[in-house]
Structure formats: C-alpha cells, structure tokens
Amino acid sequence: MAQAFGSSFGQIRSVSQRMDGDRSGLAVVVIAVLAFLMFFTAIGALFVGASEAAVLDVLLARLGFLDRSLLKVADIVIVENIRIPRIILGMFIGAGLAVSGAVMQGLFRNPLADPGIVGVSAGAALGAVSIIVIGGTLLADFTETVGAFALPVAAFFGALFVTSVLYAVATRHGRTSVATMLLAGIAIGAFSGALIGIFTFMADDLQLRELTFWGLGSLAGATWMKIFTAGPIILVVLFASPFLAKSLNALALGENAAMHVGIPVQRMKNIAIIMVSASTGAAVAVSGGIGFVGIVVPHILRLAIGPDHRYLLPASALFGAVFIVLADCVSRIIVAPAELPIGIVTATIGAPFFLWILLRRRDMMDM
C-alpha cells in the first residue's frame, strides 16, 4: 500500500517538474487524487481484518440485494459494528490530527510544531493515566458516574485544562506570545510528564501495561458512540479550518506584517488554539496517543504542493485520513489475533517514508 503512495507521488512529480512558482493547479490535482484515494482506502479497509467475514454479502444485504436473515450474525456485527466504525473513526482522527498539525505549524511558524505543542497531548495523557491508575480508588466516584466513558472524558478535559493553563501563561495584555507558548509548553509538558511518572510509579503491573498501550494509541475501541461524540467536534474544526487559511498565509510574513495587511491576529490565534485543542483532545481521548501524523502529513504535502494553506489544509485532512486508515489496517492484521498499537505503525511507516521524501527533495528544503 505504501507503494501506491509512492507511485502516486511519482506521477505528481512528473506532472510538474518545476516546483517553484504557482502550484495551485497541481494542488487541485493532488486534492482530487487524495479524495479518490481516501474513498478507495476506506472501501478497501472494510475487507481487512483478523477474521474472514463475508463483507460483500453484508454490504449487498445493506443495499437490499440480499436477504439479511441468510447472513451470519457475527459477519454483520464484524462489518457494521467493528470495521465500519473503526474506519470512520480513523478517518476523523487522521484528518483532525493532520489539519491540527498544519494549523499549528502555520501559527507557530515552526516546522516542528505538532498538535501536541499546545499541551493537548500532555494533558490528555495525564487525564487518561490518572483514570487508569487511580480510577478504581481515589477517583472511584468519578469513574462510577461517568461509567465506561471515564477515560475518554478525563483525557478530553485534561487536554483542555492543560491548554487553558498554557494559554493563560502565554497571554499578557490581551496578546498571546507564540514564543512564550512554545517554551512554556515544554515546561508544562515536562511537568505533566513528571505527574505521569508519579502515576507510573504508583501503578501495579496491570496498570503499567494498560498505560503503556494507551500511550501507543489504538482504534480497537472504536464504536458508533465514539464517532457520535468525537466526530462532530473534529468535523466542525475540519470545516472551519479553511477560513483560517488566508490568515495563516499572511502570518508566514510575521505577526506584524499580518497585522498590517488587516489580519485580526489575536482573534485568529484564539480561534486556532481552541480549534486545535478541541479536535486533538477529542482525537486523543478516543484513540490514545497516535504520534507523527500531525508532523509528517503536512510536511509531505508542503513538499508536493507548497505552503499555501488554502490547499494545504484540505489536502492534509484527506491525506491524514488515508494515512490512519492504512496504518490501522496494518495494526489490525500484522499480529492477529492480537493488535499492534497503531502509534507503532504510524511511526515505523511514517518516519522512513518521510525521510525518503526528504532525501529526494533536499534541495527544495534549502530553498
């Protein structure tokens, strides 16, 4: 499947040998290809899994061509309640993380920025780990009230809490300093890390195992319920992000320059930070820590279609969705009947692929 990516990039390369100047024509082609690719990966992923379910029959029955009562109940459940929710949730998460990454890199004017930079990942991890370790004892009241959703709820609010603290630290006289936020983010990240360390120290063997796996991410817990709770948050952000595109483009010139061309910089920062923390918080809450998507996806696309956010943001959403759905296919079957955490897959596929693209385009990076 990585080969399919490689060849499509090869085509794109041959379409346009000259990578400088206006690349919007190419960008439109890339977006169309990615949309196409996303559709087919989603369909293809339906047929990938640990069991051999009669996927086609279930789909045909859904469309009314087959009698549903003739099918095995297990097959219907596998397709409709396990695989489809997993694919849809994966698309939401991939798109959300990739767009958040692109927005953060634009806002911080820093290629190393990822969605975690506003403290989301650290906060979510803190929330999740505290439920895993003290959910049954100190936080028993909370876990009992919220029930099965204790972990995602705690992760989501942990993410929002840490982001708010970071925002408050970085904002003075109504102006948010991006540089302060970057540095304070590192400090708060380290502090959350220490708190997580305390929980790790307190944890028993079972809990250690659980929190390690949580940190590596998984879509195994995907249900329709999770799609209906996390999905709308991510969807709002996906549809809102193109409205930030022009402002992010102007911001590339520097904050002052952006202000002088009439961009309401502070308001834009607020919107971007709220958007990113909400969508990343939602994504991390339901899937755990899936790394590398927010960095690798926007960068690969920048190398292909340039830094114009009007194209970069929608392309990131599509490519992020494709990337996660493909990675999840690998994590579902490579060690079946066990599951390989998806974070391992995204990094082992993503990192070398990213390096390969970088090596081929080294001269572009120096431009």
Binding site: G49, A50, A74, V77, G136, L206, E210, G221
Partner: protein, 154 residues
C-alpha cells in the same frame, strides 16, 4: 519442617483430586481471560500467562492461546474464538469492567459466554497468585466453569 511437609502433602492431594475431576471432561470449555477492558479495548491473557495456567488446571482451554502474554486482542478475533466463558479478576471499583460494559461491547456481546451469562469473576491474587491456594482456586474455578455438568450429575 513438619508443617511444610503437611502443607506440601495437602496441596499435592488437592491437585490429584482436581486432576481426577477434570481428566474426564470430554469437551474442554474455551475460556477468555480479560485482564482489562479499559475504554472498550480488550486486553486478554494468552499462552505463557498465569491466567492460561489456571484455566488449564481448571480443565478448560484458553480461547486465545495463539497469543503469548497479556496483549490487546482484536475484536474480530474474540468473536471468532467464541469463548464459552469469560474470566476476570474482581477488583475494587470494578476495574475490569462490569457486566453492562460487556453486554454493550461490540465483540464480547457476540460471544457464547455473554449470551449464556457465563462471566466469572474471582480474586486476582487467588487465581493468578500460584501459591499454596492454587489447587483450591482451580477447583473452585472448575466448579464454576462446569456448573452445568454437576447439575446433570445430581
């Protein structure tokens, strides 16, 4: 020294008794040991685990023996494995998921174990501790697992 001898003797007697009880089980039930069900993700005990050991002692077979150690298992694989019994540790705060979560779970809800209400919870240290009480624990687990058989015998 004498005390130790008595204990050792008792334990091996208990194991003999257990072995006698379980050797004639014609259909070994498939048991899925769920270590945790945090956030809907099943972490199960595969082979080379204490859970696997106690299941075999009790005259059952591990539903996911192709996995080694305690690992997250795929929902689809759980449906395919079709365990007759779900075994969990009982813990304060019901850490390893209550029945409601199991009934609503997309994969666990489809297993014969859930459909027949064969969800067994036992103290973790008792069943997984592998100490002097193990024979007793395995006997108790076996009785729970094959309760329908003993009903027939009566």
């Amino acid at each position: 020294m004498k005390k130790a001898d008595t204990l050792a003797k008792n334990v091996s007697l208990q194991f003999d008794e257990l072995a006698r009880k379980t050797e004639n089980i014609s259909e070994r039930k498939k048991v899925l040991f769920i270590l945790s069900l945090q956030d809907g993700r099943i972490m199960a005990g595969g082979s080379d685990t204490h859970a696997d050991g106690i299941i075999q002692l009790a005259g059952g077979q591990n539903a996911v023996k192709s996995i080694s150690g305690y690992k997250p298992v795929s929902n689809e694989a759980v449906i395919e494995a079709a365990p007759d019994i779900i075994l969990m540790m009982d813990r304060r705060g019901d850490h390893a998921a209550n029945n409601d979560e199991i009934i609503k779970h997309p994969a666990l809800s489809q297993t014969p174990a859930t459909k027949n209400g064969k969800i067994i919870r036992m103290n973790g240290l008792y069943i997984l501790g592998f100490g002097p009480r193990t024979a007793e624990a395995a006997t108790e687990l076996s009785a729970e697992m094959y309760s329908d058989l003993s009903v027939k015998a009566n």
